[in-house]
């Protein structure tokens, strides 16, 4: 008599487990949807700042600010959209305090900048909350988040939406960059046609998000995901798991890392034509510490000189042994430290059709970690937002007598459009 009871009990347990699993699956599927719906204004209007960064003229977060828009979304549709042109709008000419980073403010002895020129942080996620606050202080308008995109993203989005016609001009993915540059640099106010072009692009993109077929939505999502991975598109704060890490935060785990943050000081619009190469050689020592040799190479394919300020961010505790520039004079290096990083900062000029190199030789505290298999060394190369690509040459010398088990991304001429992970395991 007891057997059926036990069977029933097991059956109920099974049902509860099945229901729980089903609940978990549904929750996993629904949370991103709820997040997405909330961000799209389905549970109350949402207002976002749109920051268009010109990544042909680098700033810390991905490019000089060309235009700022404010968009309000209700049930997935734009109900209000206004663009502010960097050079003419009073809002963007307002002075704001710089809250760092120390490597920048110390080098230039500056603690105030125009709002349109205040994106000198190491990443977009550090800039976004500050610009939200500065925007409120300047205009009295609160925004729920900040969307950042650069000219590379504008090209990619036009590839999806197809060409647009704005102010009588046909805008395609091929000419959008030069059209934006023309409007940005015209001696007479071109804020009207520039805002018209960006408004058309914004409306078309939102229309595509809302009205496209499911395969098109997937294509759009993939494009946004790729742009976010390559740091040409930022959404702050994060919109759930669907666009995870799209806030542009530099996330370097406890390991060795390199993050090069460039600022183009010459108003030169030259960064699309500068090839960047990172040569990194590290000698691992038996006690787990390391000696690193980092060379940053800039090759200018343009016909004018480029004036660059480069902040090389490496792990905290790094000690600079020497800095060399074999190709041209430079100002620096300045060394600044905090609990998260060490910054080596230098300013130099890359002449037309020429190459400039700067080398930092430094020691690192323990960057090798032990596990059951052996000793692990990991290097994370954090790509700066807005940079299209870079070349990585990485070499790792093991301690004397060590035997290599596994190596990843060690070698020459590795081209990356996003962050890179170099990994070595040895015994």
């Amino acid at each position: 008599m007891s057997m059926p009871c036990i069977e029933m009990h097991e059956s109920h347990t099974g049902r509860w487990i099945a229901l729980a699993v089903l609940g978990l699956v549904l929750a996993t599927l629904l949370f991103p949807v709820v997040d997405g719906l909330s961000a799209a204004g389905f549970f109350g209007d949402k207002t976002y700042l749109i920051i268009l960064q010109d990544n042909s003229e680098m700033r810390g977060t991905g490019g000089i600010i060309a235009l700022v828009g404010v968009v309000t979304i209700h049930n997935g549709h734009i109900t209000d959209l206004r663009y502010y042109y960097s050079h003419t709008s009073n809002e963007l000419q307002a002075d704001v305090y710089l809250d760092g980073p120390e490597s920048f403010t110390t080098f230039f002895n500056a603690d105030v900048a125009l709002l349109r020129d205040s994106n000198n942080q190491y990443d977009f996620a550090s800039f976004a909350p500050k610009v939200q606050s500065d925007w409120y202080t300047t205009t009295g308008q609160r925004v729920d988040g900040v969307i950042g995109l650069d000219f590379t993203a504008a090209e990619a989005i036009l590839n999806i939406t197809g060409p647009i016609t704005a102010s009588g001009d046909v805008i395609t993915s091929r000419n959008v960059f030069h059209r934006l540059e023309f409007y940005s640099n015209a001696t007479t106010d071109k804020s009207g046609p520039m805002a018209d072009m960006l408004s058309k692009l914004t409306y078309n993109t939102f229309a595509l998000i809302v009205d496209a077929s499911i395969p098109q939505k997937l294509a759009l999502y993939n494009a946004f995901r790729e742009l976010a991975n390559e740091k040409h598109l930022f959404i702050y704060p994060e919109v759930g798991p669907l666009l995870q890490n799209a806030d542009g935060q530099s996330r370097a785990p406890e390991a060795d890392f390199i993050s090069v943050v460039d600022t183009n000081l010459g108003n030169g619009k030259s960064d699309f034509s500068i090839e960047r190469t990172i040569d990194y050689g590290v000698q691992l020592l038996p006690d787990g510490s390391a000696v690193s040799n980092l060379t940053l190479t800039y090759t200018n394919a343009d016909w004018w000189a480029s004036n660059l300020f480069a902040e090389a961010l490496v792990p905290p505790g790094a000690k600079l042994l020497g800095a060399y520039n074999s190709t041209s004079p430079f100002r620096g290096p300045q060394v600044t430290n905090d609990e998260k990083l060490t910054a080596f900062s230098s300013k130099f000029v890359v002449q037309p059709y020429a190459t400039t190199r700067i080398t930092y030789l430094y020691t690192l505290p323990n960057r090798v970690y032990e596990s059951g298999i052996g000793s692990h060394y990991d290097l994370y190369v954090i790509k700066q937002g807005g940079i299209n690509r870079y070349i990585l040459n990485a070499s790792v010398k093991l301690p004397a007598g060590a035997k290599l088990i596994h190596a990843e991304n060690v070698g020459s001429n590795l081209t990356f459009t996003d962050d890179a992970h170099v990994s070595v395991v040895y015994t």
Binding site: G168, D169, T172, N185, S270, S273, W303
Partner: protein, 188 residues
Amino acid sequence: MNRKQLIVAVIVILLIVVALTASVGTFLATAPTSEITYNVPASAVRAPLGTTASSDTISLRLNWVSDASKPATRDTWVKFNLESRLYNMSLAPPPGERYLVANITATNVRPTDVHFSYTAFAVLTPTNTAYYANYAVCNENCSPALENRTLSAGFTSDLYVLFSVPEGTNADNIVYTTSEPPIVMSLT
């Protein structure tokens, strides 16, 4: 798995494949293309290389077309880019692209100001794919006309118009699309 179950499984897999194919097909059929087709209207006026053709407001003559990577073309571009004083345009095209520079003489044929914009120029291929102009430069006196999109009475000047086209593009015409009628200039 018995025979019945196998048949059901095969049918389900086939249905999934058909659904996926249909989805991809729908996407390919509806995805916007980044390329533009421009069909030259029958009313267009045509001019071979080195000859002039006129519309209601302007006349145009295509003098030459050259790859921006050639040193002489590059030097010419740099000279006029500097004179235009707007912004320095890089002559290093993105991967997979090449830059073409066209030297075009533009003249206002009316006794009054006329609207004119370099953005209305497009390179045409034999299959009517159009690549609209990226930028244009000219000498110091002419540059305000390009920026303000207005040619004053009596205006005539050489323009250097830059187009970004995919590598391997076989261009055969340049068209000025917004005049009445459009002006089509042959590269030969």
